[in-house]
Symmetry: C2
Subunit: 385 residues, 2 copies
């Protein structure tokens, strides 16, 4: 159909501006594109031309908004299947993969249980998973150049290295180079929470916001933050560590070494440990703890309430410091939202400072496959140099 | 010497890029300017030309770095007295003013005690102060177009309005328009902590950093945050409220309505109130409380230690969330740094998450005049559209 160019997809700021808008919001009229980007309509037409020639954009049939409103206009839209991107999330025990189109719609998914967590073994398994995904349809293999990988922990995106990840217990693994050699694709690594924040910012609740945050709750607690339209990376690679802000000097000790961290009070492990202590039942599992709370056990309910309060204070702290327009709350912790959601909202509203309280919280349950989609969005972003 | 143009000083991104670098770091060679801005040396020369013609930049005598190192180069430098900017900080009881040159050096300062705090009265007094400052030298009046104003509280910079300020107790005051009419200058308003953060980012410890924060301690506790080179404003105008993050559910109630805010534990009023309670001396003043602590009174020392701990936890929280390259600590609270500085540093280091601990804290005592300089820097920024 179209050749796979080795040159970057976009080379000028104007092309980047209109393509990013169209990825999220196709179709848009040229007038709307000019208004939103601040470009002249001539500049919009000039920037769109090579993207149309390469098949990334197409023109829709002309629409005339009102009689006498001037010459008809052809809205522009992304051609989603012009190129595909593979995303893989590496979790503690499973690889989750997806093929996405340019608008980040998942076309196919697959997963593999993780056995050996040695980097070389994981790299081999990941290459197998990518091959399986690309073999699902000939067009996937023909039109895929980029692979995005999401992994928890400290990830050096520019260098393509996992500096540290607790879940597979890796230290300084140059994963991008190994995977590029194993798959033949161009590889971008990102921290998993940042990846899903990017997905939600470009293609979800965060579309069009300059200040945005996403909070994940569950086994870990963290956040991704967007300021002035860009993901906050931190000068030393640390940012968004909402799980490790200390909100109670009388709180429990955290695995990070500090006392009273949000994660030490509100992670699923912390909740389970507290309910085991409160009920004097060291063999209780998390499902059992949830059943106790749902059944009305006051001690178990109190632990969930305290966890919800901690999360609400943590989100309010983030909001008071960086002022997002909206916050999305997600993660597997939402499965027990009935037990602590009210406490999250109450503490959040009580602790927001003045106008910061205007920032709404939105719940967004994300199945595991969505984390693979987040990884794919990192690959889509790699189209932009 | 040169005409005062009504056109903007810079009109192209390349001009902005080289002028901002030169404001902070004159002189710089064209090679260095090209390297730092990513522009070609032709583009540097082209962008510098109108600024040289208008007298904002000048060329220094050629320097030849080494024999045979090519043709000699003329480094470029800002001409600081090409234009002056007035800055005024409105505090609870005084107006502090300064005339600064383009490199934010204070040329002259003046102040006025605030009597009536009615906006119209303050506006009149402020116009008198500006007139006094401009009358100090004929060149100030001839070459000043911009006035920057710094005031505490909720300031709408784009609209030039004070939405709320506790110190003069103002609600929704359109101060920029009133002052422009009273002074004939172009007026920019900014929150005082944000103003001094901008000054420190452009002309102080923050030069060249993409991630930077400034924390003020004293009667109030707050912060200014720079991410990806830009001051964080917050989607709803609230950001950097480090004083109102809750770090202890068993802590004292704050004037904002919440419990355990950093400001409720560590502001100078909170420290005084706690020492009065601890010593059962309701008539003690702040100086007396400081003397007690310096004299070894354990109760008074304990209150300062607790305040230092709260500030350290607050700064660590900020650092864990946004990852600055460095943090400057300032404000009149530094006067008692001997009493709580160690506790600030200990709590900060203990609560930073992993690599975030690489972020150094720098102390920067700022006399009141420096707040006027911060206001002037807001005026200098107004040179850039």
């Amino acid at each position: 159909m179209f050749p796979n160019h080795s040159r970057p997809l976009v080379t000028a700021p104007a092309e980047t501006a209109i393509l990013t808008l169209l990825l999220a919001e196709s179709p848009l009229s040229r007038v709307e594109l000019a208004r939103r980007t601040g470009l002249s309509s001539t500049a919009v037409t000039k920037a769109a031309r090579p993207l149309i020639d390469d098949g990334y954009l197409h023109e829709l049939p002309p629409e005339r908004t009102a009689p006498g409103a001037g010459r008809p206009v052809n809205p522009l839209a992304v051609t989603p299947d012009r190129e595909f991107v593979v995303g893989v999330k590496i979790s503690a025990d499973t690889l989750y993969g997806a093929v996405c189109d340019l608008r980040a719609h998942m076309r196919t998914t697959a997963s593999r249980p993780l056995g050996d967590r040695d980097p070389a073994a994981v790299c081999g398994l990941l290459a197998d998973l990518v091959a399986e995904l690309l073999d699902a349809k000939p067009e996937y293999r023909a039109r895929t150049r980029h692979l995005g990988i999401a992994v928890s922990g400290d990830v050096d995106r520019p260098c393509g290295r996992v500096r540290y990840s607790a879940l597979p217990n890796w230290h300084d693994v140059p994963l991008a180079d190994s995977l590029a050699a194993a798959t033949g694709l161009s590889v971008t690594l990102e921290n998993d929470v940042k990846a899903i924040t990017a997905a939600e910012h470009w293609f979800g609740e965060g579309i069009g916001t300059e200040y945005f945050a996403l909070v994940t709750i569950g086994a870990g607690i963290g956040s991704g933050i967007v300021i002035n339209g860009e993901l906050v990376a931190g000068a030393y690679g640390v940012a968004g560590e909402m799980g490790h802000i200390s909100i109670d000097p009388a709180g429990p000790r955290c695995h990070c070494g500090q006392v009273g961290c949000v994660e030490a009070i509100a992670s699923s492990d912390a909740v389970l440990a507290a309910i085991r202590r409160a009920t004097d039942d060291p063999d209780l599992d998390f499902d059992g703890a949830v059943q106790l709370a749902r059944g009305g056990n006051p001690a178990a309910q109190g632990v969930f309430a305290r966890a919800g309060h901690a999360i609400g204070v943590g989100i309010a702290t983030l909001v008071n410091l960086v002022g997002p327009e909206r916050v999305v709350v997600t993660g597997e912790g939402l499965d027990t939202y009935d037990l602590f959601g009210m406490h999250i909202r109450d503490a959040y509203e009580a602790h927001c400072f003045k106008a910061a309280a205007k920032c709404p919280l939105t719940l967004r349950p994300l199945p595991w496959e969505e984390w693979a989609r987040g990884a794919a969005v990192v690959g889509i972003q790699a189209l932009f140099p």
